[in-house]
Amino acid sequence: MPNAVALKVLVVDDQNSVRQMTRMTLEQIGIRYIHEAENGVRAMEIASLQPLDLIISDFNMPEMDGLGLLRAVRGHPAVRKVPFILLTGRGDRELVVKAAQAGVNNYLVKPFTAAILREKVEQVMGKLS
């Protein structure tokens, strides 16, 4: 039963507004340590230097999309086992399938409420205290 306050989460999205919204929502469910990255490369930098408990990433980003990031994470020895939740748009089933094959832990459809976020996170990490 992980303690929400102790979790370290990385949020990856090229849109600042979305990052901030995600941050706010994460804070609503009690998470405090939130790193941000605006693209996959920056995300990998952070991921390989900071201990992370969870990565939440948008799919739709220039240069390296969320799926690319997922694959990069799964391929990097230091971070390959970090749980990864992919943000997808409505109706993108193909993406979910691909992500599943690449090793994603869960997906979230934008927009999401705090309740849904919590549910998705708990599905992966266990009940948050």
Partner: protein, 728 residues
Amino acid sequence: MTSLDQLKVTFFDECSEALQQIEAGLTDIRQGHSSDDTINAVFRAVHSVKGGAGIFGFEALVEFAHVFETVLDGVRRGSLTATPETIDVMLAASDVLSDLVQMSRSGEFITPDFGGENRAALEQIIRSDQTGGGAAGGENSPAPAEFEGLDFKPVPVDGFEFTQVPVDDDSATAGADMMRSYTITFRPNADMLKKANEPLYIIRELRKLGELDLIAETDSLPSLAVLEPDRPYIGWTGTLQTSASRAQIDEIFEFVVGDCDLEIVETTPASAVADTVDVDRMAAPVAPTASAATPPPPPKVETAAPPVRSNEASEPAGANRSPVAKPAATTTRIELERIDRVVNMVGELVIAQAMLGQIVQDLPEGTSGRLSQILDEVIHHTRELKDSVMSMRAQPVGAVFQRMPRLVRELATKTGKKVRLEMTGETTEVDRSIIERLGDPLTHIIRNSVDHGIEAPADRLAAGKGEEGTVRLAAEHRGGRIVIEVIDDGAGINSERVLKKAREKGLASPDAALSEDEINNLIMLPGFSTAETISDISGRGVGMDVVRSNIQEIGGRISLKSERGRGMTIQLALPLTLAVMDGMVIKVGRETYVMPLSAIVECLRPARSDINNLVGTCGMLKLRGDLVPLANLSDLLDISSTAADSSESVVIIVDAGEGSRFGLVVDELCGHQQVVIKSIEESYGSVPGIAAATILGNGRVAFILDIEKLSELTVTAPAGVSRQRNAA
């Protein structure tokens, strides 16, 4: 403004940018000069607007953007053709989108049929999509958060059910080192430095194991006035990400464990706990089987082929792993010659900079303020440059040392002896050219120790020693040189036998009276070997003489000391390998010399009362309760001093190695600077007391002093000359 409002502002800013991109992109496409990327960029822009709008609840914007996005998706996938008409519709759509953004921003009411005409046109285009694009199907009604019919099972990270499928099964990373992270807290005790433990090396060693992230703790750091230079004050806390074992980390702290507060805690994040199944061919990845639209490729193999959407610019073509910047340390191979050239250039730079410094110093007062400021900066940068370049060539001596334990074990077994090898100072760095040439001589010396030095267990017991002999291999920087010692606690050299053998071979005259030391050193003469049987270990005639010439070839010195029955010490002193070093310029009489800054402990101008004149010495200096023997540099080098009496002289306390200190009396301190070391051994051979030469800023040549040799000379040099001066 609430933070939500602030975010909305941010969002609308993003929308402005996105809208510009959309229009520009579509225009390019319309005019025929666009790339694959353009359509993707436009798609992403619309998608972003839609996503953000959804978050902030601008439904009308979301709905419209969704339809727009669908068309764009079709075009980029190739299932829709971008005819001029289509593009015109899209251009109109971008106008509608822009209006919707504006209205959402200002909060005005949006009629349900706003942009309806354009929307209808878009929908018509969608209907013409040949592949019946999955995204379009029934998506105009708000879709549930879960995908219906999709058998997606969230993958929890519980220890037992760790079923992630790694991307690349046959890569080097699979089945390998598990990365762990450790939090290390380190606080040195007051005497750590006195016990010759250097915290810096620990940090360097840790860095070699992985990524180290440190925060220094400076709370114990006192003010400069009370700071003691030989006490460590700074502790640190850090995280280390490494695949090394805990044992390896502990090893780094081996020598300091008693002298510090140390805490190493493994803090690998919960997700990495699964040390059980390292997931090579994991079963059941969570690929849904029900979805008919895209038959999933076989679950065990990563989708190697590019995905259906060949236009997806974001997917690296066919690559299993995205070519992302791997932040782990990368290395590259460089020809040594190139590095040497850079080293030389840096050397020349230092000389030029010194000359520049001289000129600036000689300028009239007041003109040079800014200039000397900048020059200081240049000096600072050059120093850093030098350090970087030097570090390229430097390697830890451990590279050579690490072969030794095995060597000793094998030898011990062969000879039936019990020997233990202790090594210290493996991290001492030495120029790589030295490393390469050190292996053979060192091997030979250690072989000798085991073969001839250490006695058989029975003999050792008979002599009152422990059964197991010890050979100690140590390296350290001392007085500006690198000193490597091999110390064994064996039987030492049998000087009678050596003398006898030497006489037999004509290497020593029958009536020469040689001191024990001199006899012992005979073994380094060519052709000498006292092995009764030619053991295949040490060979015949290939003895210490070869070792000595090897060492001399790299500009070093070898000396040995033996104590009958107690053991032998062989010391290798290797030259200053750094082509550039920090030196203190000093004057004695009319001569200028340079001393390696690393050898200097402190400088002072003592009062007469602090100096005790003892018979047979140049004086002893009272220094904080200790008596330090003094030596006049003028005596040692046989030049005349101009100082009238000792109170005008400067005393430089130097570290002569082996814990001995003495005070070198000179006339003047001229400041310190970086100097380029130019070797003179080729031309002049070895001159006692002089290590090398350099060119000072004023263009003159100055000799660099060899402090260790000087300290030896203090024993033999006549103390008479200057003392007369003192007495006067």
